[in-house]
């Protein structure tokens, strides 16, 4: 393909949460993450679009910033790109400043600050739909005259809502306005607003009404607890029929393919015991993961999350964190990697480091298969108090255990660190928004894709390697035990077993932990493969229920609350902190906690069940 020549490089700049990324996606057809809170975008992203005349533009999406005097690492990126200090790149040819039309009092200040850079500039007045609904009336011509730059109305979430902007950018841009850099920005904003904007009230009525509940110190916490609880109930009770369907389908195809390979027993074993038993064992958890994400996506778009952060700020302060850490930690429920990236929006480097160190304690979605397998095998599927699913309650408890230990670790870090200064939480509370079903569907589709790619990529390849290690070398002449006991994996498992015996892991678990380092779900597929090779015909859940003691199962659950094993997370920590020391500290403390927790769980459960 011939690269079309870029005629202009444009950067999207504006306050957080004004819809820059939504505009970026709308113009370039990109799929960057959009959500209703400040600090979603934390890095520079690039895309292209063509204007009506066919000219090609390069568009750069940037993290939101409150000011060019950057305070947090993500703001530094925005500042550097605007000033042309970003490594390996000149300043953009023109700046597309984005402002939320419903919040001009705050956003215009930044527009004026950017105008001082003296670059060609266009103002996109975004969220015009919301502004109209609220009766906010903006005289665009007057605003344009006052600012001296073109002003275009946009609705980034509506199809074609950015067409006017694209057309304006495609035309001739007026040269930069030169302004007096010493003027009082606040006074200027006030004057412009008085002249060009009429606003019936500062906030939306519905937001105020909802906030009276949601931000109430007691009621609010109740609302939060109920929401979280319902999510985990849904994960178990809605997913069941879908999971059974997938399991049956995988089983059927496996049998069919296996019978076709009857003449090649080794290949048959690879396909049936390795690929179908192993990978199929992980694939069944797709519905549960999607249900979890359904809720996460809806919450992200609703505008509720910053409010939850606000509510929990008190509690988090006691533990040595701030409400700012809430959203990075919540993102870690998906995966610790985006969570650690999201800490770039935290200004204080020590708060940021603490948040990075505890992010892996949030239960990432890769752990869900392990939890779900063990819960389904050992916790009876019954109702508590006539309506709550017991398995869902246990899952909820495990997530809470992760959160509580994260707070405890943060508290210890606070004790250790010398500087005890605290920062007040200053956070923007966005308007509530009803999530678009279409956006949620796209988000879920993407999550499904990510999961399936993982299953077909790293999980599949590790499972095949494990099959190989569990099959070779074969059993010697006159062997009495199953062949797998003589294999590489069998030997390795037995060595590791020495280390893990005190916490109740058998050698099969010990061996499954190793590939689990690269992707946690592989622990499940590995167990499935190892047991299938040992001659077990049933599903993994049935095998586990029959072969393991309750104490072993609980011990493994406790292990996975801490689960120090994720190489990708450690690599991200290395990159974001630029230090091996933090990597070692993190891996070390997680391993120690996991071991201690499993040891206690195992010994206590055994004492009780004896």
């Amino acid at each position: 393909m011939i690269e079309s020549v870029v005629s202009l490089r444009l950067a999207l700049v504006g306050n957080p949460n004004c819809g820059k990324t939504a505009l970026f996606n709308q113009l370039t057809g990109g799929r960057q993450k959009v959500a209703n809170y400040a600090g979603v975008t934390v890095e520079r992203k690039e895309g292209r679009f063509s204007g009506p005349s066919g000219r090609t533009f390069q568009l750069i999406d940037l993290p939101g910033a409150y000011s060019l005097e950057a305070a947090s690492p993500d703001e530094v990126i925005t500042r550097d790109v605007c000033l042309g200090h970003f490594p390996g790149e000149t300043a953009p040819d023109a700046i597309v400043c984005v402002a939320d039309a419903t919040n001009l009092r705050l956003h215009l200040r930044f527009v004026l600050e950017v105008r001082r850079l003296g670059r060609p500039m266009v103002l996109a007045l975004n969220m015009m739909d919301a502004a109209r609904k609220r009766g906010i009336d903006i005289d665009v011509a007057k605003l344009e005259a006052a600012l001296g730059i073109p002003v275009v109305e946009t609705v980034a979430v509506r199809r074609g809502g950015a067409a006017a902007l694209a057309a304006r950018l495609d035309g001739e841009l007026p040269p930069a306005v030169l302004v007096d850099a010493s003027s009082d920005l606040h006074a200027e904003v006030r004057a412009m607003l008085a002249d060009a904007v009429s606003m019936p009230r500062r906030t939306a009525e519905i937001d105020d009404a909802l906030d009276r509940f949601v931000l109430h110190p007691l009621l609010g916490l109740g609302v939060l607890a109920v929401i979280m609880f319902l999510i985990f109930q849904a994960v178990f009770s809605w997913a069941e029929p879908l999971m059974e369907g997938i399991e049956a389908a995988v089983g059927m195809i496996g049998t069919w393919v296996g019978s076709g390979l009857a003449s090649m027993p080794m290949l048959q074993s690879l396909v049936v015991d390795g690929i179908f038993a192993g990978v199929g064992g992980v694939l069944v958890f797709l519905p549960q993961i999607l249900i979890l994400f359904l809720f996460i996506l809806a919450l992200e778009e609703s505008g509720y999350l910053p409010r939850a952060a606000f509510l929990l700020d008190r509690l988090m302060l006691k533990a040595g964190l701030t409400g700012r850490s809430f959203i990075p930690l919540l993102s870690s429920f998906a995966c610790a990697i985006p969570g650690i990236m999201a800490t770039r929006s935290i200004q204080d480097p020590r708060d940021r480091l603490t948040t990075i160190l505890i992010a892996p304690l949030m239960t990432c979605s890769a752990r869900l298969p392990v939890y779900a397998l063990l819960i389904a095998a050992f916790i009876p599927n019954q109702k508590v108090a006539g309506m709550f699913n017991l398995q869902g309650i246990v899952l909820f408890t495990l997530y809470v255990a992760g959160i509580v230990s994260a707070l405890a670790v943060a508290w210890v870090i606070k004790l250790i660190r010398r500087d005890k200064s605290e920062h007040a939480l200053l956070m923007e509370l966005p308007s509530y928004r009803i999530p678009h079903p279409r956006d949620i569907a796209i988000g879920l589709w993407e999550r499904a894709n990510i999961f399936l790619k993982r299953v077909g990529g790293i999980i599949l390849s590790l499972t095949i390697i494990l099959w190989f290690l569990s099959t070779f070398p074969g059993a010697p002449e006159g062997a009495t035990e199953p062949a797998i006991n003589y294999s590489f994996a069998g030997m390795l498992g037995r060595w590791l077993h020495v280390l893990f015996e005190p916490i109740g892991f058998n050698w099969q678990i010990s061996i499954a932990l190793v590939p689990g380092l690269a992707a946690r779900e592989v622990a499940v597929s590995s167990l499935a493969t190892v047991y299938a090779l040992s001659g077990h015909e049933e599903g993994l859940q049935a095998i586990v229920a029959a072969q393991w003691s309750m104490a072993t199962a609980f011990s493994l659950l406790a292990w996975y609350v801490f689960a120090p094993m994720c190489l990708s997370t450690l690599a991200t920590v290395r990159r974001e902190t630029n230090s091996w020391r933090q990597v070692w500290i993190m891996a070390g403390y997680l391993f120690a906690l996991a071991y201690i927790a499993s040891f206690l769980t195992y010994q206590i459960t055994r004492a009780f069940s004896a």
Binding site: A71, I77, M266, I465, T572, R575
Partner: protein, 104 residues
């Protein structure tokens, strides 16, 4: 007997492909290094045209490299920070104030 051979060949191909893929996931840095040195070796002018073409194909695609320390990672971050972005981040002058609690 030929089924036996075919079987061994298939298993060997599947297992070694998996090993390469897993390597790429677990240690992307060393993997790329390895990949480019093999590509360079094959690209030498005394090699046959086929080998050289293979070497060109093997050359790592810089453009495709996404951050995240793990291509497939948990990647709700697609391709996170390029290394230069990260470097820019390390040197942050600290300033405290941020905007007041705002509702709109």
């Amino acid at each position: 007997m030929s089924t036996q051979w075919l079987q061994t060949l298939l298993v060997a191909v599947i297992v070694s492909t998996s090993a390469v893929l897993a390597m790429r996931h677990v240690a992307p840095g060393p993997f790329r290094l390895c990949q480019s040195s093999i590509a360079r070796l094959l690209g030498q002018s005394r090699r046959s045209a086929v080998l050289r073409a293979f070497g060109r194909w093997l050359q790592p695609l810089e453009a495709r490299q996404g951050g995240c320390g793990s291509g497939l990672g948990c990647s709700s971050c697609g391709g996170c920070g390029t290394s230069s972005a990260t470097k820019a981040v390390e040197s942050i002058p600290l300033k405290v104030p941020s905007p007041p609690l705002q509702r709109h």
